[in-house]
């Protein structure tokens, strides 16, 4: 092992924090650059746009009346009338949201 460049803790702090910030800021710029040059970006957007109309016709086929009745009863149990219910729609379920919900439920239960 050689000798340390400096033994002044404040200079070490200054140099290190500068390096850490510059490197991580550089990475954030690279992440933005990767997003800009991403050749699949437009293709995925088109694929998502195309997928939505295809899924639409399937929705009316499902009979959700029982689910709606149960939700309406649950809401009514909290003192609201059915007139207060404007719409009932399925929530989007990305993985992170589900994880957050599960975490919230566990915290409540525990």
């Amino acid at each position: 092992m050689g000798h340390p460049v400096t033994t002044n803790p404040f200079i070490i702090m200054l140099i290190n924090m500068t390096v850490v910030f510059v490197v991580l800021y550089g990475l954030s710029l690279l992440i933005r650059l990767i997003h800009v040059i991403d050749p699949t970006k437009n293709a995925e957007e088109h694929a998502e746009a195309a997928a939505v109309p295809a899924a639409m016709p399937a929705a009316p086929v499902v009979d959700n009346s029982a689910v709606v009745a149960v939700i309406a009863a649950a809401v009514a149990a909290y003192g609201c009338s059915e007139a207060n219910i404007v719409t009932i729609r399925p929530a989007g379920s990305p993985v992170w949201t589900n994880t957050g919900r599960l975490s919230g439920i566990q915290n409540t239960v525990n």
């Binding site: 290190n16 850490v20 490197v23 991580l24 800021y25 975490s103 919230g104």
Partner: protein, 376 residues
């Protein structure tokens, strides 16, 4: 009579070779410490997967005359894996395979919170030098604030190997105590209004971005800081296994079997460094206190940078996610989520906190690499 004499001589020989003749009060104290750690692991469930092997290693390290580190065998092999920087990069391989970099890629500005949280490392470094530790020892103590066990072991082995036991134990102990240490600091430095900020849903991240980022990150950091190339390289390799979509078996092995095996070796080996001779001294106590200061400083640094981003963004960033910048993946991000939900049920910060959390892992490795370049 001859039989009796032979019996007495044999018994005396067994006694002379037994561990009891070399057993000290210090060994007894450390065995009690090991038992308390076992109790915390099993009864209180404080990170049992880490604490249980550390505790048992601590108990085993205090049996005299075992020759663990002199004679070839499994204990020497485990010790070799720790002292030759084999286990920390393998742990990083598993961490990379388990971690979703998507939130960081979707919101790259949160990466700076991971940088700000490294301030705890250097507050503790300065404190250690004021207490009389030399600069290499102080750097090893300070890295506890990175809340990254493998990096702490990696740096300590290179700069101050004689402090490995105390530093590894402090690092892993505080990592397991993240849910107790961080919330008071987070509440102290934020207002109710800031804690209730609901952040916007992140954009979807394409497969191209998920694959290119680890490759680019490895190239940039390895060229800039070669001493930590193995840590960053293995982290990113594990993530590539996860994201490529065609290496599921490698990803599965990295994030399950392999990381579990290496954790057993690394944690047991860490515990094995806790012999009374090396551990029972005033320096250990100072290291544990300095480690706590580093942890609190890092949490405060991340939260304060979160507040700066809150002001700059016009109230769109919840400063609570800044505390996740201290690494400890994914525990620190979960703490941001839990604290955020306490003040606003239905507020899901977990995904947003994963950005600074991942950045904290990279930031701690960069800080370690910079200190290695400056001090070794």
């Amino acid at each position: 009579m001859e039989v009796w004499n032979a019996f007495i001589v044999s018994i005396a020989s067994v006694w002379a070779d037994s561990g009891f003749t070399g057993f000290t009060i210090g060994n007894a104290i450390m065995i009690v410490v090991g038992c308390v750690l076992l109790w915390l692991a099993f009864a209180k469930e404080f990170e049992p997967l880490l604490l249980a092997p550390i505790a048992f290693g601590c108990i085993m390290a205090n049996f005299p005359k075992t020759g663990f580190f002199e004679d070839p065998g499994v204990m020497l092999a485990i010790h070799y894996g720790i002292t030759n920087e084999i286990f920390p990069p393998l742990i990083f391989l598993g961490v990379g395979a388990m971690t979703d970099f998507g939130p960081l890629i979707a919101n790259p500005s949160t990466i700076l919170m991971g940088a700000a949280a490294q301030i705890g490392v250097f507050i503790s470094l300065a404190g250690a030098m004021l207490l009389g530790f030399d600069v290499k020892e102080a750097a090893s103590i300070g890295i506890i604030g990175g809340a990254d066990g493998p990096t702490a072991i990696y740096l300590t082995i290179k700069l101050a190997p004689h402090l490995l036991g105390a530093i590894a134990v402090a690092a892993y102990s505080y990592m397991s105590l993240v849910p107790l240490i961080q919330p008071p600091v987070m509440k102290l430095f934020t207002t109710k209004k800031e804690r209730e900020v609901v952040m916007e849903q992140l954009r979807p991240v394409s497969k191209f971005e998920r694959i290119v980022f680890p490759v680019v990150c490895t190239i940039v950091i390895s060229l800039l800081l070669p001493p930590v190339a193995s840590l960053i390289g293995m982290l990113m390799l594990g993530n590539l296994f996860r994201e490529s979509g065609v290496t599921d078996r490698l990803s599965d092995t990295s994030q399950n079997s392999l990381i579990n095996i290496v954790t057993i070796f690394l944690a047991t080996g860490t515990g094995m460094t806790m012999s009374a001779h090396d551990f029972l001294n005033a320096k250990t106590l100072e290291i544990i206190v300095l480690g706590l200061i580093a942890f609190i400083g890092g949490t405060a640094g991340g939260v304060w940078f979160g507040k700066i981003m809150y002001w700059i963004s016009g109230g769109k960033v919840n400063p609570l996610i800044g505390s996740a910048g201290v690494s400890a993946v994914p525990m620190a991000a979960r703490v941001s989520q839990i604290v955020g939900q306490k003040f606003k049920p239905g507020n899901f910060l977990l995904m947003h906190a994963m950005g600074p959390n991942v950045a904290g892992v990279i930031g701690t490795a960069v800080a370690a690499g910079t200190m290695l370049a400056m001090l070794s």
